[in-house]
Amino acid sequence: MANIVFENVQRVFKQNGREFVALKDINLEVQDREFVAIVGPSGCGKTTCMRMAAGLEHPTGGQVSVDREVVTQPGPDRAVVFQAFALFPWKSVWDNIEFGLHSLGVDAPERKRRIEQYIALMGLGGYEHAFPHQLSGGMQQRVAIARAYVLDPKVLLMDEPFGALDAQTRVVMQEELVRLARQHPRTVLFITHAVEEAVYLADRIVVMTTRPGTVREIIDVKSIRESENWDQHKRIEDVMDLPSFVHLRTHVWKLLRDQQGADVH
């Protein structure tokens, strides 16, 4: 496991000869085995942050490093779960999960052991030979999560992974991810625009502002979650009813709303 460090990260786009600052002065450390969620309005550059950690995009200033190594290109040590799943439609569930293990040079018996482990963990038993298009959105995203976890990556990067799912499926997936995250803690950078999702899942929440994208506030959820014992409740709605949850959610909401107001005036 490892940490993710953003140091003075800046990202400038050029559009029709005009410069447009998408991200400014991003300083953030996701610690080892910490689950950090970035929330912010659309266009604040939160997805760009994740893509820079993945090596799919590059900062124009500053640097992103994972495990003290500066990120320059994508690789299996930084597994990504995409919003659009990005499963290979021509490969079965099993082959999709196995794809990255080949790159890592994992031998056949170990591949089989790991794939079986995550197929069981993600509730994909019986669907090993199905093709992605035969599965529901929720099941497809389970495959994508299994494909990322099975690599045993240094860090996990999730870009609004539940954004394309319907409300009921989303809730189930959130509960499953919490279970997975508490049982097998990982370094996770999770991008979302859903405030409740961030409060429910994360150890810390980074609230971003837009134009330019900057870090507005970093909120510690973990200490409250542990002192108020959220994890004794299995269901998300029970957690969401707790006064401490409601209080945090409202706090994050206000941070986001304030800047929208500032936008208008």
Binding site: G75, P76, A86, F131
Partner: protein, 260 residues
């Protein structure tokens, strides 16, 4: 779809009506006496000649032997076009520098009709197998290359990013991501390619071969047997249709497996 599909009964009635009018116009023209039966045979002349060609050798062989020899040449040229076109198309899509090297020459050469290679085919290979294969290759190769390249270029970025994120080498990205993603486009290209290749073959046999359907037709012309020429035309059309049906079947199977 622009308009709802026709109901099956109507579909077949209209198809039959179209075929029947074609035969009727042909028959009328042939029996009207405008032109000699030697210049325009009747349908039944052609059917009768067809039967003869199947049993009595003409231009050295019976009809199905000519067909077999044409199909062999076609298969060689077509397979060669596929074996060069698909890998080259993938390389061009993946490496911009390969694209830059190949494109200028390819973009020029592909506008030259395959039949224009006949002089070279004759000079280089005489009446050997190489001549027709070269000409078929020149006809079949461009659509394979273009469709592979376009299909690979239009692959959704997310699959490439997923493959990079999963640590795939350039080789694996090309063979396990780019190639399968481009398959629907490639198969569509193969259909065009097979059509053009089969057409070029017959053109080639008219000039640089001593067997095959095209050769049969040249000999038919020399013998002023227009019925023989028409038999050759019918055989070409029919085999071409069969090849296309087979490839269309393959296309449907692939698309169904993908859930398209």
């Amino acid at each position: 779809m622009l308009q709802p599909p026709l109901e099956p009964a109507r579909f077949w009635r209209l198809s039959a009506a179209g075929a029947a009018s074609f035969l009727a116009i042909w028959t009328l023209a042939a029996v009207s006496g405008i032109t000699s039966r030697d210049f325009l045979p009747t349908p039944w002349d052609v059917v009768e000649r067809f039967g003869q060609l199947l049993t009595t050798p003409f231009a050295g062989y019976v009809l199905h032997q000519h067909l077999l020899s044409s199909l062999q040449r076609f298969a060689m040229g077509f397979v060669l076009a596929v074996c060069v076109g698909i890998p080259l198309g993938l390389l061009m899509a993946w490496f911009p520098w390969v694209d830059r090297i190949v494109s200028p020459a390819f973009e020029t050469v592909r506008f030259i009709a395959p039949i224009a290679w006949v002089p070279f085919a004759a000079l280089w290979f005489g009446t050997g197998i190489g001549g027709p294969v070269l000409i078929i290759f020149m006809g079949a190769f461009p659509p394979v290359l273009i469709n592979t390249y376009r299909g690979a270029k239009q692959v959704d970025r997310k699959y490439i990013e997923a493959s990079q994120m999963l640590g795939a080498s350039a080789w694996r990205s090309m063979t396990e991501v780019l190639l399968p993603a481009a398959v629907p486009s490639i198969v569509a290209g193969l259909r065009i390619s097979a059509g053009l290749g089969w057409q070029s073959l017959v053109g080639a046999e008219l000039i640089v071969a001593s067997s095959g359907v095209g050769y049969l037709m040249v000999k038919g012309q020399a013998a002023i047997s227009t019925a023989t020429v028409m038999c050759g035309m019918a055989a070409i059309g029919f085999i071409g249709l069969l090849i296309d049906v087979a490839l269309r079947r393959a296309q449907m199977v692939i698309e169904r497996r993908r859930g398209l």
